[in-house]
Each structure stands twice: as structure tokens, then as C-alpha cells.
């Protein structure tokens, strides 16, 4: 059996560093999207003592076909989680933290209040740390979005994930227009908060469709755009159609910047939270 992956999909893995961060997360009963989503950058990020926290449990109420996070009946929300997460941020001495969650369609507010409590807890004991939240669509309900906006994180990210034409196959329980409206509402309500979104490529989309997403996201004044390669977690997940070359990612980046995004991260291993602090530092 020979290699099947392109040579640019290579990452570093240091077991000692991974074990250290993994044990700390387990001790504090915290989940990371790095582990749950089987992120290819886990080794690199854990080695740098950084991680993207995933709150509101590890079971998602939606079943997006690209995602490795388990779906099913969601678990009880842990009231200690905001403080435990804030302590982890302190222990890791993070200058920038990214907090995401599973989608909680079972909760009346979609988990918005828990996001707000977590932002507050992090800020209380880490006043210098910039806070980025990567939120689900919260069903597009303004009252839910207001709860997160009022907690005043530095960055609110909501990923559109893919081009409009692939939503039915990739995100059957989501809605492209609703995601755009979430981004629009965030910027209208809080222009000082950096807004961010991103897509995966390699699912069969065309360049024109990618550029259309960029245009749609710029129309709602989105600041940051990320593009990364879709990597299939298992044969049960949606099929990968193409490994997009690093050169094509550079081209996407160039076009996105020309179109007007303030910051663009585009590369095979780019994930929405990968090196997120670098992007945020330019908005300080």
C-alpha cells in the first residue's frame, strides 16, 4: 500500500506535548474541537500549548456530513465549564482564546447564555486575553445572538462552511441565507466586534461559486475570511472530490483580499481557528 495523500498535507506530532495538553483538558472536564473533530493541526497546536475549546458538551444536535463531532442526544450543560475553561486559559497562558460549541438546538437559547458566561469567566481572570467565539447559527434568533454580542467578545466567527449550492448535501440542517444573516446582524449590532467566516473547499465547488461566497460575505461586511481543505474524517462522511493545491489556495487568498476582506487565511491546513490570534492582533 502506497501514499495516497498529497505531500503538502503533512503535520508534526509530538506525543509528549499532545499528552500534556490532553491530560489537562481531561482533568478540567473540558472538550476541544481539536480532538472531537479530529483536527489535523492538533499536534502543532498542542505543542504550542494552544487549543480551541468546545463548550456545551461533545454531542451535537445536528448531523453535518463533513463533521467528525458525534451527533445525537445532547448532554446536560456543565455549570462549572465556564470557570474550568477560564482556568485552562490561565494555565496555558493564552493571549488569544477560541471558544466554539456543538450546536444545541435542544436549548431554548441555543446555548447563547452559556457562551456569555464563558466569555465573562475568561475575561475575569484573563483580562489581557483576546476572546474569539465560533458560534453555531443559534437558529438565527436575534435575542440569542444579542446575548453573545452583549458579552462583547473581540471576534465572532460563524462559518458558512461551503458554497450555497452544496448546502443540501453538506449541511442539510443549516441554511446559507440564515448564516449570512447571522453575520450581517453581528456587524450591524456591534460594528466594533470583528466578524469572521470561512469555508472548506475540495467538495466539488467551482471557483465561481467560491467567489460568490466571498461576495456574499463581503455584502454583510464580514472582516475575516478563511479557506481550508475539506478532509474526510471517515468513509461515512461526505466524499472528498479534490485536493486543492497550495497554489490555488494562494489564488483564492489574493482574490479575497482584492475583493476587500481585511484579513484572509487560505491554505490546505487552514482551519477557522488555526493561528487565529495572528488575525486578531491586526484588529487591536
Amino acid at each position: 500500500m502506497g501514499r495516497k495523500l498529497p505531500e503538502w498535507l503533512k503535520v508534526n506530532y509530538n506525543k509528549e506535548a499532545v499528552d500534556e495538553v490532553s491530560h489537562m483538558m481531561a482533568d478540567l472536564k473540558l472538550n476541544t474541537v481539536c480532538k472531537e473533530a479530529n483536527c489535523p493541526n492538533l499536534g502543532e497546536c498542542y505543542k504550542k500549548k494552544t487549543a480551541t475549546f468546545m463548550i456545551l458538551g461533545s454531542v451535537c444536535t445536528r448531523n453535518c456530513r463533513f463533521c467528525n463531532v458525534s451527533n445525537g442526544h445532547a448532554t446536560k450543560v456543565d455549570p462549572e465549564e465556564p470557570m474550568n475553561l477560564a482556568q485552562a486559559v490561565k494555565k496555558l497562558n493564552l493571549t488569544h482564546v477560541v471558544i466554539t460549541s456543538v450546536t444545541r438546538d435542544d436549548l431554548p437559547d441555543g446555548g447563547a447564555a452559556h457562551f456569555a458566561k464563558t466569555i465573562e469567566a475568561v475575561r475575569n481572570i484573563n483580562p489581557e486575553t483576546t476572546i474569539e467565539v465560533l458560534i453555531p447559527d443559534l437558529r438565527g434568533v436575534h435575542e440569542n445572538l444579542d446575548i453573545v454580542i452583549n458579552a462583547n467578545p473581540n471576534v465572532i466567527n460563524h462559518n458558512v462552511e461551503t458554497v450555497k449550492y452544496l448546502y443540501a448535501d453538506v449541511r442539510p440542517q443549516a441554511d446559507y441565507e440564515r448564516s449570512l444573516k447571522v453575520l450581517q446582524y453581528i456587524k450591524e449590532k456591534a460594528p466594533h466586534i470583528t466578524s469572521k467566516t470561512g469555508i472548506m473547499v475540495g467538495l466539488g465547488e467551482t471557483d465561481e461559486q467560491v467567489y460568490e461566497v466571498m461576495d456574499d460575505c463581503l455584502k454583510v461586511n464580514c472582516d475575516i475570511f478563511t479557506i481550508g481543505q475539506y478532509l474526510r474524517p471517515s468513509e461515512q462522511h461526505i466524499e472528498l472530490k479534490e485536493y486543492v493545491t497550495p497554489e490555488k489556495f494562494e489564488e483564492y487568498k489574493k482574490v479575497a483580499l482584492e475583493k476587500g476582506f481585511k484579513y484572509v487565511a487560505s491554505g490546505p491546513l487552514v482551519r477557522s481557528s488555526y493561528k487565529a490570534g495572528e488575525a486578531t492582533s491586526i484588529f487591536k
Binding site: 495523500l5 498535507l9 503535520v11 471517515s234
Partner: protein, 79 residues
């Protein structure tokens, strides 16, 4: 003192990995941080680093082998 190097579990659902490159051979000096071998899994190729300084004593697999998680791949004499 000898230390065994096993196939790491690189993701929760990983059962085995494809050994796509052996970067050190038996007898080679090894420094902490050196890449010992490369493992291909579903998503990426991972460069597996050494946590120790020492010398690689034995290799139990060859390039192209599919190795189960926790199987012993190599033995290192730690200095």
C-alpha cells in the same frame, strides 16, 4: 535504558496507520525533536517526533507497512 516507540493513536477513531517513511535507521543517533517516521492516516501524514536523545537500536517494520495502534515500531537506547 531502552525505550519502545509505538504507533501513536493520532485520532479517536484511528485503528492503524500507514508507515510511509522511516526517517531514521537502526544505529542512527537521535536527538529530541528529530522526526522518526511518517504515518499516513485518513486526513494527513504525521511526522512523529522523538521525545528522547539516544540511538535507534531496532526497527520492527518497513516503509509501506500498515501498523496497528500501540504496536511496537522501534526501540531506542536512551542516553
Amino acid at each position: 535504558m531502552k525505550k519502545i516507540i509505538t504507533m501513536p493513536k493520532l485520532s479517536a477513531n484511528m485503528e492503524s496507520g500507514l508507515l510511509v517513511a522511516l526517517c531514521k535507521q537502526a544505529g542512527d543517533e537521535i536527538k529530541k525533536g528529530d522526526v522518526l517516521f511518517e504515518v499516513e492516516t485518513e486526513k494527513v501524514v504525521s511526522e512523529i517526533e522523538s521525545d528522547e536523545n539516544g540511538r535507534l537500536v531496532t526497527l520492527y517494520y518497513k516503509e509501506g507497512d500498515n501498523v496497528k495502534v500501540d504496536e511496537i515500531i522501534a526501540e531506542i537506547e536512551i542516553v
